[in-house]
Symmetry: C2
Amino acid sequence: MSSLKQQFTVSFRYDVHFTTSLFDPSNRLFADVISSNQETELNQTIKKVLFVLDKGLIDHHPELFDEVQLYSKKYSDTFEVISQPVLIPGGETAKNNPEYTELILSATHKNGIDRHSYVVVVGGGSVIDTAGYAAAIAHRGIRLIRVPTTVLAQNDAAIGVKNGINAFGKKNFLGTFVPPFAVINDSEFLKTLSERDWRSGISEAVKVALLKDPAFFDFIEQHSTALSQRDMAAMQHLIHRCAQLHLEHILNSGDPFESGSSRPLDFGHWAAHKLEQLTGFELRHGEAVAIGLALDVTYSYLNGNIKESEWNRILNVLQQCGFSIFVPELYSKPDDPMDKGSLLHGLEEFREHLGGRLTIMLLGDIGKGIEVHTVDTGLYQKAIHLLEKKEKELV
Amino acid sequence: MSSLKQQFTVSFRYDVHFTTSLFDPSNRLFADVISSNQETELNQTIKKVLFVLDKGLIDHHPELFDEVQLYSKKYSDTFEVISQPVLIPGGETAKNNPEYTELILSATHKNGIDRHSYVVVVGGGSVIDTAGYAAAIAHRGIRLIRVPTTVLAQNDAAIGVKNGINAFGKKNFLGTFVPPFAVINDSEFLKTLSERDWRSGISEAVKVALLKDPAFFDFIEQHSTALSQRDMAAMQHLIHRCAQLHLEHILNSGDPFESGSSRPLDFGHWAAHKLEQLTGFELRHGEAVAIGLALDVTYSYLNGNIKESEWNRILNVLQQCGFSIFVPELYSKPDDPMDKGSLLHGLEEFREHLGGRLTIMLLGDIGKGIEVHTVDTGLYQKAIHLLEKKEKELV
């Protein structure tokens, strides 16, 4: 018997850019990103770029691909755009139907998109997750530029190193850890968002503020009305700071590809994922996260981890931003946590996705999370009652 | 406009073990590998292990899974085996039909295999590639233990950081770069290999010797008859040295996940991949590699890079190991390299998989490769004629 030992490290880098009017020919950013690949001069060819576009976005920006083609004419020495973009429906539909992944893979095959070409995905979080997954597995990884167009995608979904689609009724069952080539946030896209899509992403900012940055929580609290009334400057600050905290977390976690059992940023997410499923994806991810946060914050209060005043502050912020903090699905099969129809079965599904011991994040203080490995299901029932009461008080 | 910069490194490590009688209860290796995960004590639970088995192997070892179950009884404090293994046909069939990937994914779903569980794949290179792909995308990555059972898998396919299946008629179109948790080579499995499977893997050893280690080439030359006559000690040395050279290459390449355009170990592989396809996978990978090597070695001779004596030595070694160095498919559509049915179209397919410029490896000397970016297709025609002549001389 003998053994050979292998050990190596791989470096990853990507930039997250903030701009406006990305495809205005006077804005060089996109062309600069494409040519920032630091290849040898001999390898500098005109790059092929395949666009994957969110159909929901195109409804509001029917001119978008014409603009892209016009833009590419000016920078034709750098890249050429495949004339047929791939259109994918927005929302969870993209992730629930493998045919959309297939559609992107087929376009990469037909157009000879290789590892030195680019897939550019423009849209919401689900379309970005789907295109990211397809780009990660085609040729073992094509360069991906994410152009997120919703608040949630700009401050959270598009920032990280994950991609994925749903399978077997499990969220993100298929996916990989692959950092993007670049992320470009264009705040112009936020102007045409529906009320729900404008609001949805705020909950991820509340979450990361609660875990990491009390001053950021204060900012959201002070601007909750402005944010709900579509104040662009406040939203731009929220997105920038939230993105920054996410990037810092990935950098400092020591485990960017999650080999451990801990998912310290997934505060409120065990319930959020399950509520999305229990409502048949009627709830958007950000809306479900707001309720998941409200639930785990309330549990943290009932558990004695945070004060009543803090509990009230947090729920008030969520409500002032316009979020519901209760849906009837919270009460799904409360007597049997092992029933797949039960909200509490979400704890087991959450554990299974990472493996190892159950590890969920609760709140220790504003700005500080604490991990626990067991929960009191009776206390969760109490928390759900409190949320229902609080929601009714507002109405 | 502003930008946030992200940069981090991820460490990967895995061991390649050499043993015999892996599932003999007195051999602790497998149980030790399972418990080598260095998790915190609290996270040490009894691990779930899903076996994926090569049907071709089971034909020769019908008792294998019974042995595995008996073995697991002795180490039941460390792991439990899912009672239903996944059976996958050997050879390219596994990689050509997405249903087999689906079968493994479905078993991980049904049995609650999570990121801290294990998929153990026992079989040839294609089954290992398929199981590795499924394990890499389920839950964004389940731990994979490879137990390769052919020469090719033990010295090459199972050693590296790649996995993948075929799609759209393109080899390895879908896949990822994900190192295994561990590799375990058991030489017992080699005893029941067919002649073809015994021989096939030798060509990858010839390749790596030609590129990196003249002394290893001398060893193969001196033992070519012994190797073709199934001398186990010679084969064990060949596998160990070949695996070691592969691991060193991954470590020292500076680009383990192939972000560049160069694939320095893929000497002879542009033609090998194409010949597998042109023969409808009648040729095994190792057999195709032998012909691909013979072709690029002959081209290197005609090109003036190596001497006639060296050319002869190399072809003799391949022939003495029992390889054919010619198949009629080498002549496929010689007049039109842009026709997909042409052997020379393999150059473009090879380029596309990596992207960027065409970069192929030729021989500069025994022990030294040289990269080129253009080829002379007329010289390739000449090389093919020479191979046909040389093959006929032997008969």
